[in-house]
Symmetry: C2
């Protein structure tokens, strides 16, 4: 059995899958994809992942894409240390959280973060011709346009930040409500819902909308976040390590 993970270390979606594998204790071969060098657009990588996104799991030669889908695949194929609720209603709740992470928090964070983060910084250093070439390499229009907007379009407006904050607030309040009904997001057991939401909530509290994720406003969510961040596998996954650095040692 050969399991390979193409990932970008400490980016949100890469942390989702790296944490899932660690929680289950499944060894894998790690391939760091340097987003700042746009390695995710190389033809050999696009053969595995036509969206040009990380992570991608390759299991005995078969590529599985999309971190939320990858995590459910891993839990199906390797049933030890199950990370999905035992009941179908719990799995449905888990999948709704996966959708919220992917559809709302991910794109939303691109706005609240002023776009493309490290990628934006890498793109800003390019001259016009080089930037055009990079932009043309994006398979997904939405991703390309975020980078274009951040680098050339003056970034996001105050109105866009406000909209983004309202949307984040709706989901954070939902999480607070659910954590009043059960210990974890999808029910009384730790699950992929927690793993898939964690990198977003963590970053929201730390850097994006810290005023929304405060113990007086969202006490249950903050207690959940504290418990999550203290899990040994989370500490291991979220800390910089050999696995999260480019092979050539560049930043």
């Amino acid at each position: 059995m050969m399991l390979e993970l193409y990932h970008a270390g400490l980016t949100a979606c890469s942390k989702k899958t790296r944490l899932c594998l660690r929680e289950k204790g499944i060894p894998y071969v790690s391939h760091f994809v340097n987003l700042k060098k746009f390695e995710q657009h190389k033809p050999e990588y696009l053969k595995l992942n036509p969206n040009g996104l990380v992570p991608t799991l390759v299991h005995d030669g078969v590529a599985i894409i999309e971190s939320t889908v990858i995590n459910e695949y891993i839990d199906e194929v390797f049933p030890d240390v199950p990370l999905r609720p035992e009941d179908a209603a719990g799995r449905a709740r888990m999948r709704v959280w996966g959708k919220l992470a992917d559809e709302a928090l991910g794109p939303n964070m691109m706005v609240t973060f002023s776009g493309a983060g490290g990628i934006g910084n890498a793109a800003r250093d390019l001259d016009d011709a080089a930037l055009d070439k990079i932009l043309a390499g994006y398979p997904l229009r939405d991703r390309r346009e975020v980078v274009r907007k951040v680098v050339r379009g003056g970034g996001f407006s105050e109105a866009e930040f406000a909209a983004s904050k309202e949307k984040a607030g709706f989901i954070l309040d939902r999480a607070e409500h659910c954590l009043g009904e059960a210990k974890y997001l999808a029910g009384d057991t730790f699950s992929l819902a927690d793993i898939n939401m964690l990198p977003f909530i963590d970053r929201y509290q730390e850097r994006v909308v810290p005023e929304l994720v405060s113990p007086d406003r969202l006490p249950k969510l903050c207690a959940w976040l504290e418990e999550m961040m203290a899990r040994p596998k989370v500490i291991e996954t979220y800390a910089p390590s050999e696995e999260t650095r480019p092979k050539d040692g560049a930043a």
Copy 2:
């Protein structure tokens, strides 16, 4: 066992779940939610579905939301006539199609369709005070802003239509590619991938971007669409019926 479906008849996401139930031959109690009367924002409905969206499945009193999640729930709980691929890699492909339908084609169709369709028309008939009240009832900001834009903001621009068309083209081309590798979207068996993509592809060909979904450009996708639309359960689900009309007989 009591299965109730709250749906809006011939809207895309309602068709997804109504078709899933019919293909599996599972009887259910139908509750038509009249979107033009904004019944999806009533407090008793929001208790079932805090997003204020249709459909919602209520199984022995437990509410399951989000059509893609509902369909997988149904297939897990009622294993006869399985609608998920037997292998985990096939299920992963199926789930990626579900994500494309929900994340890309659904929101994209709101733009290419000039927004809110029947809801937009209903909103246009309201005076300002009534419209403000309706808009305030939307739990999800993105949905609310589409209606506001269509009714008060002059609708979508040519640039937005062009962007939407580019995004649709990317996914349609992906479908064509996959149908060159297997008979159905997720592999060699009919699955929830086909059910979840069908209402979007059908409407794209019929009304949104017919020039993109043509047999000379996408022969395999058009052959798939023809086969899908000829399935007896699709004919039954996609045709107007008692189930797809408001109880009071209004349009």
